[in-house]
């Protein structure tokens, strides 16, 4: 029974944490992009605009949830839920810190310590594609259908590159468990360089980052919602909380990608001890720090790069990234054998 309540508490903390962080992600995105464009960004709601996410949430909740007459009602209403649920479920297997003991009970900082965690995450992200297709098809709107088709073709193409780019790290750890992958990165090269996978797997890391940005439909690969031609892509017809759910799913997926990138390539919660901070919290701090690097990178890209053309996007994936990923696996295999 105690086990059950501990898990319940972990889930609630995780759930609340992800939603809060996600809400403030939108705020930071607007602030960062504003600064990069010599603007100020939101600053009216609360001190320096800190209440902005709350105001946005309330606004979306009180807007009319609207279903177009020609839409396929059930599919239309299910789509945002189907995008949202897998996006959050992915988080069940992310480790945030080392195990610790409270009152003689060992507690791990992960909701479900699953031994196939890495593929579990990929599987969940592959289910997310249904939200997009159903939204587009269910809306019965030309922009939405076009956006959904493009988006799903893009997402599935980059999923291949994404999956292949992670194989190198699996070979190093010899496990699909995220905890094992982190433990395999303990120690240092030549005394001070951390033994993170990003060094031997620099190619894999670059491929992962690129395909992950395409997976999450973010700039410069945000073609499905290219506002200049497709208005908003698959979620044109959504308003109110249905729209909010797509929005939530997109930002949660960004966080997921950052978490996977930090775990697989930057040593997850590993990091030098901060004085006077207990080890578990130390781990969480490092994990969040590493994740925020990737999040910032996302915003930075968005305000720097123009959007790709669709044919460029597809040929980048199939003609450049796929062969590179296979080559990376081959080289990793040879190096592991002979070095």
């Amino acid at each position: 029974m105690a086990e059950f309540f501990i898990t319940l508490i972990k889930i609630i903390v995780l759930f609340g944490g992800v939603l809060t962080v996600m809400a403030y992600l939108t705020y930071f995105e607007r602030k960062v992009v504003a600064r990069m464009q010599s603007r100020i960004g939101p600053n009216r709601t609360g001190p320096i605009g800190l209440m902005q996410p709350l105001a946005d949430g309330l606004k979306l909740l009180t807007k009319e949830p609207f279903v177009p007459r020609r839409a396929d009602k059930v599919v239309f209403l299910l789509a945002p839920v189907l995008a949202f649920i897998p996006a959050l479920l992915t988080w069940a297997v992310v480790p945030f810190g080392p195990d610790f003991t409270v009152l003689g009970r060992k507690i791990s900082m992960v909701v479900a310590d699953v031994n196939v965690a890495l593929i579990y995450m990929l599987a969940m992200s592959s289910v997310g594609v249904y939200g997009i297709i159903m939204a587009g098809w269910g809306s019965n709107n030309k922009y939405a259908v076009m956006g959904a088709l493009r988006s799903s073709a893009q997402v599935i193409s980059y999923e291949v590159a994404l999956g292949l780019s992670l194989i190198g790290t699996i070979m190093i750890a010899g496990s699909l468990n995220l905890g094992d992958i982190i433990h395999a990165q303990q120690g240092t090269y030549v005394g001070f360089v951390p033994r993170w996978n990003v060094i031997p797997q620099i190619v894999g890391f670059t491929l992962f980052l690129t395909s992950a940005i395409a997976e999450t439909n973010r700039a410069p690969f945000d073609l499905p919602e290219a506002e200049s031609e497709l208005v908003a892509g698959y979620h044109v017809e959504y308003s109110g909380f249905g729209f909010a759910m797509f929005f939530l799913a997109e930002y949660i997926n960004m966080l997921t990608v950052s978490a996977v990138a930090s775990v697989a390539f930057l040593g997850g919660w590993l990091g030098p001890a901060i004085p006077f901070v207990p080890a578990p919290i130390n781990g969480v701090v490092w994990m969040l720090l590493k994740m925020s690097i990737f999040i910032f990178f996302y915003f930075w890209l968005r305000s720097t790069l123009p959007r790709f053309r669709y044919d460029q996007l597809m040929s980048l994936c199939w003609k450049v990234m796929l062969p590179l990923a296979l080559l990376n696996i081959l080289v990793t295999g040879i190096v592991k054998l002979f070095v």
Binding site: L60, L89, A112, V114, N141, V236, M314
Partner: protein, 117 residues
């Protein structure tokens, strides 16, 4: 007994519950004013022409098919990567054989123009 998996089930129930309640809540709180023009599908301000659920391009099918093939290939690579330490050179050679065949399919698709958009 799937010991480590039940938290995922619990998590699923909580997440689905959250999604359902928040959608229901917004239905309760939000206004709902029906109007013929509003219920029309959005098409940049003009009346919608024809059906949106039209036939799609065959290129989407080709991409999906290639995706299935390479996804299955990736799935064979996961257990291989996990046990790579134990099977060593033998494993490397068999995987190279496996991938070389698929690279053949890949080159064929490239030459046929299936990778061009």
């Amino acid at each position: 007994m799937p010991v480590s998996w039940w938290p995922i089930g619990l998590f699923f129930i909580i997440v689905a519950g959250f999604a359902a309640t928040s959608l229901a809540l917004s239905k309760l709180v939000a206004p709902s004013r029906h109007n013929e023009a509003k219920a029309e599908t959005y098409e940049s301000g003009i009346r919608p022409l024809g059906e949106a659920q039209q036939r799609s391009d065959i290129r989407y099918y080709t991409v999906a098919m290639l995706f299935v093939v390479f996804d299955v290939e990736a799935i064979f690579l996961y257990p291989w990567a996990v046990v790579y330490d134990r099977i060593g050179l033998y494993g490397l050679i068999e995987m190279v054989l496996f991938i070389v065949l698929l690279v053949g399919a890949y080159l064929y698709a490239w030459r046929r123009g299936a990778l061009d958009w």
